[in-house]
């Protein structure tokens, strides 16, 4: 059983389906995982790795997009030390659930998981758990 999960709500674990993502420092972030729609499913992050070799410390934020395409942060800003393996496991990550919300425009969200890097060319890989069916 996963340490933070209650036994009556297990999910299935997988890597972010965008694979290894290099940040591009764009405001709406870079796509790390497209949410599966069967059910539909929801997801929470269980591991984050960010390698920063850009020459200076930098930050990342995880979030999703509204159905109007605007950035919607979901996790707090995380510091990525330069030349370090910056690793967070599920003990460290807030249990935020990424949810597809079909309300139109700014009221709804895609639920897809994006990362905004403060600089380009940090390498980000995530692991997540999907719930639903």
């Amino acid at each position: 059983m996963y340490p933070l999960m209650t036994p009556y709500r297990p999910g299935i674990r997988m890597a972010g389906n965008a694979g290894l993502v290099a940040t591009t420092a764009v405001g709406v972030g870079d796509l790390c995982h497209t949410l599966s729609i069967s059910g539909p499913r929801t997801a929470r992050l269980v591991k984050i790795m960010c390698y920063n070799n850009t020459g200076a410390n930098a930050t990342i934020i995880f979030g999703t997009l509204t159905n109007a395409g605007a950035w919607a942060p979901r996790l707090p800003t995380m510091m990525c030390l330069n030349t370090f393996d910056n690793i967070w496991t599920e003990f460290d990550i807030p249990n935020v659930e990424f949810v597809s919300d079909t309300q139109a425009g700014a009221l709804g969200t895609t639920g897809n998981i994006h990362v905004v890097g403060s600089v380009a060319l940090m390498l980000v890989s995530i692991e997540l758990e999907e719930f639903g069916g």
Partner: protein, 185 residues
């Protein structure tokens, strides 16, 4: 007195009757009656894994897309053979079961249930995936659906269970185990 599983018991798969006991099998709208001559296990192993992307001649299964039902030659039988199987996906795929290519299994009027990676979370022995194949030319087909928002290169499904060899009976036996082998009305 033999101790046997009820046909959909939630536990490890086990024979539903013993050798020399009787089976009454629902197929083609009728009950047919048989005596079991022989039973052997079909262990879950690589020959019983079907990979539907390759089988269908594709290279990927599209995002939120399907691979149309594929006849599974690995589960085709000789006459008077009977397979008692369970299955599960090895990749994050949903399996949709068809008997005789067009008769859906696990159906309501408006939906067809699927077996996916969540099935084993609530049903660890996959009892709810139990199905049956009897004889020649009553084959099963499997359709795969990709729930993910990205295309994927693999759709593997593993099967395991038991194979029975049957002897046909001409009359309904006094004691028998009733088995719904097909979803045909």
């Amino acid at each position: 007195m033999s101790t046997v599983a009820n046909i959909y018991d939630n536990g490890p798969i086990s024979p539903i009757a013993r050798i020399k006991e009787n089976l009454s099998i629902w197929t083609s709208g009728n009950w047919s009656h048989y005596k079991i001559a022989y039973i052997e296990p079909m262990p879950r192993s690589s020959p019983l894994i079907a990979e539907l992307v390759t089988l269908s001649g594709n290279t990927t299964i599209p995002a939120n897309g399907t691979i149309a039902a594929q006849l599974l030659a690995i589960l085709q039988l000789a006459e008077l053979n009977f397979l008692h199987l369970r299955f599960e996906p090895l990749d994050d795929m949903e399996g949709i079961l068809w008997e005789q290519a067009s008769q859906g299994r696990f159906v309501t009027r408006g939906a067809q249930a699927r077996v996916n990676m969540f099935t084993a979370i609530r049903d660890p022995w996959l009892a709810s995936s139990t199905f049956w194949i009897i004889g020649m030319n009553r084959d099963m087909s499997l359709e795969a659906r990709n729930p993910a928002g990205v295309a994927r290169p693999r759709a593997r499904f593993a099967f395991w269970g038991y194979r029975y060899i049957l002897e046909k009976l001409t009359t309904e036996p006094g004691q028998t185990t009733w088995v719904p082998a097909e979803g045909r009305p």
